[in-house]
Symmetry: C2
Subunit: 218 residues, 2 copies
């Protein structure tokens, strides 16, 4: 077993955030940064930051801090961002089109090479020069083109079938926007974006803050 | 201080998931459920589930389990979903339109009553019967219409300005899709959907599973 399998979900969530801030510093021309400076910027404690980065080997030097450029590049490697991923998206409706344009706009190394949909009215159309192909071609396309990642933006009723097809074709990971938890074999990576649960978290926080204010006023 | 303020972020993330599964059970006509049955369904341990639900008062009965309908309704109250939220969305581009249609499609109690954009070509158009208004009207509109939530789907350069305007108008919460951490006063609820960080988490998981396989094969 390698070390990565023991890394907690909480750290995994923090890593992309570290990377984002290091990228900002890098673009500003900052050369080095201490864990205290990172703490002020990111909001985690300095000791949390040192501990997180030590998990991956520790990139800082006592009395110097971290080299921004070096740490940024190391985080890219750790995050698997030192390469490109061939990606397909299934479900070329509103959300699918928006996600396609988003990944294109941000040029984030996840190249969507084809879209798939079972709606004949959409097949043959293009989103950002990427063609929409019929769903029945999905499995062969994934296999023949060595697709790494499948993005699922279909409804919840179809999502498991889409996932199964992507996996038969040989994808390594799935980015799922359908509001269900997919059944996925252990060797496949899965990341969910559950928008309605995110909204429910927001309403929980709104209610909590209202309750706080009411109690303060009593 | 009320109890909600002490609730950990991890529990807050799990609550919408409990609600989602209880809704599935409710729709299937299931009347009661044990923590063990919930555990099999949701994937958390039974003791985790009992502990989480006890945080809010404990809704189960020894030897009986949980009443599905009762627990579902209690979770709705806890999540602040026993009411409707008046919502505006700022940034009526691809992602903004997709989010508007998504909340409309899922009818999840967050009624988007107006869209805003600073692009004159978009102003006056409609998405799902909701009109796109000019950005300069945002603050007054929020104040005059008692808007609860602002959804931000503009680019990262404009997002802080949009958030400041929404807050001056009086929103209680912000659902932010821009890839930055907004500076928000303590009394405002904030929930981020950072899509590129979600993708980076996926690539981390893909890389981790590849490393696992390589080590197993050695």
């Amino acid at each position: 077993m390698n070390n990565n399998t023991k890394i907690s979900n909480a750290i995994i969530r923090r890593l992309p955030r570290y990377r984002r801030y290091l990228n900002i510093l890098r673009k500003r021309g900052v050369k080095k940064v201490s864990s205290n400076e990172l703490s002020e910027l990111i909001g985690y404690t300095a000791s949390q930051i040192r501990q997180d980065l030590n998990t991956f080997g520790g990139f800082g030097q006592q009395g110097y801090g971290y080299s921004v450029d070096h740490l940024y590049k190391e985080l890219n490697k750790i995050l698997g961002l030192d390469r490109e991923y061939k990606t397909v998206l299934v479900g070329a409706g509103n959300m699918g089109s928006a996600i396609t344009k988003y990944t294109y706009y941000y040029k984030i190394g996840f190249n969507i090479v084809a879209l798939f949909d079972n709606n004949p009215a959409l097949v043959g159309q293009k989103v950002n020069d990427v063609e929409i192909l019929p769903f029945e071609d999905l499995e062969d396309f994934v296999r023949d083109n060595g697709i790494d990642i499948g993005i699922i933006t279909v409804n919840q009723e179809s999502a498991q079938d889409v996932a199964d097809t992507l996996i038969r074709g040989g994808v390594k990971g799935i980015w799922n926007f359908a509001p269900i938890d997919l059944e996925i074999p252990d060797h496949i990576a899965i990341e969910n974006v559950h928008l309605s649960e995110s909204l429910h978290t927001l309403s929980f926080l709104i209610r909590s803050k209202e309750l706080e204010r009411e109690e303060e006023n009593n």
